[in-house]
Amino acid sequence: MPARRAQILVSAVLIVGLLIMGFLVTAFQAHTLFLRARSVVARETVAAITADFSRALAAMLALATRNYFNSTRFSDFTSRFEELGLEPGDLESAKRVARAYLEGWGNLVRVVYAEKGAQVEWAECVADVSHLLGRPAYVYDLMLISWNSTTAGSYASAALKLNLSSAGLYGWKVMSLVGLTVSIDTYSSSGDTVRIRVLVDNGTYYGNLLARGWVEVYYQQGGRWVKAKVKDMTYEGFGYYRLTLESKLPSGTPYIVVASDERGILVVAQAVTLQQPKK
């Protein structure tokens, strides 16, 4: 008799266990379906907004560097921002314009993605670029322009915070660092050859300088900068380029390499040609 009672008890426990398992599977299935349906929308929307934020940051860094280098030459670009307070050659005014521009961009994203309940905020953040420049350097005031040395760079850094309330996504935060780094390889450069290395953003090798960017070399002569004619440019891989000049640079003379990527970000690196031993 007790044996039968135990059998019934075991059966009942097993049935209840099965029911609970069935319920859990159904709940898990429903949750997975919800996540699958939701994550697709959120994932692609977030990726599109994040990529556009990086583009906006790059456009403002391009504006700042072009304005700082030569606003007259790039007036097609810089003149459109003068009514917002951009002053030729002034980095601080370019930063003010960039902040206003990014605020405006945030407003646009809120309007465009309103039906997804987009809440967008951006904030300045500190980015360590010491590993790119080879010396202690931080981007803490939206932008850093560190030019006129053998390793030079232009950087902008900001954090994007995003909620998509209708998709159930809260607290997305990503830090964006855009920039360009140019190093002159003085050991491998000679009178008519300049070897440089170009890296984008956080140290990615840049292989599009020939096709999409540009580079110029200037040397000092009589107190002014004279443009050297680049006869040939070869990409050697890993971000290295070899520039062959039409004529030799005078020995012991400072020269600058001005490079731009396809986003318009400029960098000016500077070195001195080797002193020829006197005969």
Binding site: I15, V25, Q29
Partner: protein, 162 residues
Amino acid sequence: MRRRRGVARIAELVLATSMVVATILFVMFFTRPIRSVYLRETSDLRRLAYNVLDNLAEAGAFERVLSSALAGDTGWEGRLRLLVSSSVPPGVLFRMEVYSAEVDASGRVELVRLDRGGVTNMDSGVSLREAESVYYTYVCVRDPDSMRGRVFYIVLVVGYAG
């Protein structure tokens, strides 16, 4: 005593049936394609739309085409239609709207529509059976300099004919 035995038999029977049914349900659930037809089609269309827009952005196509739109060239819609047509699979219909976005000093956003409905491969009167629309903001970063920093808002609708 016999009644008790009968109850135990019924419980065993229910248990055995439940186990068989549960096994069949598990097998059916895990051998089925993971996504249902509806989810597969809409998510694929959405992904396709974003891929098309990302590829055009990566190639710098928006700067080149939209600079001529701002310069008053009327043929830009045909060029953009050709670019999008070559990026979508055969049988997929699309319609694209392009807006120029301006933000004034007070932060108010103004959208000005640039196209006249010509960036599409759909004949008039054709309705979409299943469609997906994506929104895209694009800050110009490529050449020419006159385009850098300009912002556009693009709506792309892709779908199948009904």
